[in-house]
């Protein structure tokens, strides 16, 4: 079993005629994913990498039975695209687009959650399950089939860590890049819950960053609900502290959000925390 993607996954690529959509629809297919349709308004009837293009997600779903969407449309149109996918009954949505206005994200994330739709992103690399497929932009060649579930807030850093694992012969069950935006459709806790249930995931790697309190919340969840071993790396231990003007962020954070706070919380939950990314494979042994 895998998480959020399986053999039944049929992908529609929203924004398939753009550079990213074209490149990654092929890369996804080459990785074993069933990419059944693309959507670009006004381009119905065209084909991209032999994949049929439709004007609307509803048409794509009706014709191809797509159940998962990968969104590459530009930020100003992302809300419309995601809402369209939600309206068309898509069950899993990966939003790769970055720089999505936060109020747009708040709205479509709330609608997705109310419908029970798994939405990953915005501003995320997506998910990959070696041997099954990938939805998003993760580079295919770093993966190796295995039993470690990876969840990460970062993009290239995820690649770095997955790559280090593969080089050490440690394969992955599913890798979920949840993205670094402030309002993520899927957060650490959502993915940890899935990994805990997933029979093929034996160990978990969590890659976090400074800022926000998602890692602290993950630590609380791990303490209460996760029995599988977890290894973590938190980027930004030596990053410079920024200055603030207003105080609203500090009220919520109340001293949390720093690398120290995150590492302390995770260690208290029994998680092994790597000091640098290349220590992760060692800690998984």
């Amino acid at each position: 079993m895998t998480v959020m993607i399986d053999k039944k996954t049929k992908v529609v690529v929203q924004g398939i005629t753009g550079y990213q959509g074209t490149y990654h629809s092929k890369a996804m297919r080459d990785f074993g994913t069933k990419v059944v349709a693309g959507v670009t308004p006004g381009k119905a009837g065209e084909k991209v990498n032999d994949i049929p293009v439709f004007d609307t997600v509803a048409d794509a779903v009706a014709e191809t039975g797509a159940n998962t969407s990968c969104v590459f449309v530009p930020a100003p149109m992302t809300k419309d695209a995601v809402m369209e996918a939600l309206d068309a009954g898509i069950a899993t949505i990966v939003v790769v687009t970055e720089h999505v206005p936060v109020h747009d994200a708040i709205h479509f994330v709330a609608v997705a959650r109310s419908k029970g739709v798994a939405l990953v992103g915005p501003n995320c690399p997506g998910l990959a399950a070696p041997g099954v497929g990938k939805v998003g932009i993760l580079p295919s060649k770093i993966f190796m089939k295995g039993t470690v579930g990876v969840v990460s807030r970062s993009g290239t850093l995820t690649y770095e860590i997955v790559n280090a694992m593969t080089e050490h012969g440690i394969g992955q069950s599913t890798c979920v890049g949840i993205g670094g935006d402030r309002v993520p459709g899927t957060n650490f806790v959502d993915v940890l819950a899935r990994f805990q249930k997933d029979k093929d995931t034996k160990k978990i790697v969590l890659v976090g960053e400074i800022g926000g309190t998602a890692e602290e919340e993950a630590a609380e969840f791990i303490k209460a609900h996760v029995t599988k071993p977890v290894v973590a790396y938190i980027a930004g231990r030596t990053a410079p502290p920024g200055k603030r003007m207003g105080h609203a962020g500090a009220i919520i954070a109340r001293g949390r959000g720093t690398a120290e706070s995150k590492i302390k919380a995770l260690e208290a939950a029994g998680v092994k925390v790597a000091r640098i990314p290349t220590d992760v494979p060692e800690l998984l042994r």
């Binding site: 720089h99 708040i106 402030r182 926000g212 309190t213 930004g236 231990r237 502290p241 920024g242 003007m245």
Partner: protein, 409 residues
Amino acid sequence: MIGQARDKPFYRLSKYHAENMNSCPWKTAKYALTRFTPEGDGMKLYEYKAKELLRKHGIPVPDGFVVSSSDQVKELPGPVMVKAQVLIGGRGKAGGIKPADTVEEARKAASAILGLNIRGYVTKQVLLERRLEVAKELYLGITIDRSRRGLLLMASASGGMDIESVPEDRILMLPMDPLIGYQGFVGRRVSGFLKLGKEQKTQVADIVRKLYTLMVSEDAELVEINPLVVTKDGKVVAGDAKVTIDSDALFRHKEYEGLEEDLTPLEAKAKELDIAFVQLDGNIGVIANGAGLTMATLDSLNMFGGKAGVFLDLGGTDDPEKVKSAMLLMEEADPKVILLNIFGGITKCDTVAKGVLEAIEMKPTSAPIVARIKGLNEELGRDMLKEAGMIPASGLSEAAEKASKESLR
């Protein structure tokens, strides 16, 4: 700092950015820096701009006007407060707020405050506004709540001070369900919590509604009225205001176009290239792609005793043209050692290497370059860089170790 270590001038970030990195306006920088600061990275508005927005949405603010020199003060709306317009807190303690009753006094106060350096910010404008007869100071704010993935409304009867130092039980924290949005009960809950008189309750509930509308329709990521003043004659008025606009939403707010800061040539280039440029206090210049990878590179350097002096984050791209531009930019910053750490996604490593070599050819540098590029055709890319005299590294740790060693030499 690199400049000091090498005894050469260093292109500094403008004061505004150096002091206040989280308000960097460039897209990629923004992306990187969101993660360094808990509060986001949007465009902060000066108090008078924030108050213009409040006024536009019907929230009462004191009468006032802005000047940039004291002789612009001709007449007053009554007794005033003269307030420094800077994008940092702690103005009052720094002498940035003074009362004045006459034009003469107001001019004197304005000249004293204009040019004042407040925690690194030079005051260029002052706001003169009618002094409020304060009976009570409240706090009202709305922000983005990452954990609950929505907006969070906050209110307290202990306004006027640092809200961080107010005990939690004296702050109402009301998560707003995005699908419910603003409804009348929200205003009633806030005004009820604040234990106000009947007339003030109505006014506060109305202000809460308008503030919510402002937050959503103006694409703000923070709105804060502190203090929200109840005057002696029972009116509720915004004493101060902080508004931060989501920079990702600026495409639909053309009114902010042209509101940009003075940039040094290097910054302007970085901005144009959509590259994050951040100055730190070490002597290694780091170029990496992606905020997480950049931070991980800094962490790794630290492990081996090295310290970054400047970093360029290309964002999640491995575009060879961008790598080349970043190399040229980095050479201008003149670090003791350059560490290049690119994790390729789409582009082949030999193409990235070619970009690096072109940059070196255009502008040779005396700084040793430790290069680590990962991805498709990495062996080929590594050989190309090695041939050109760079120090190749295959892993992140190895690269960090080599760069640190060079920097301590």
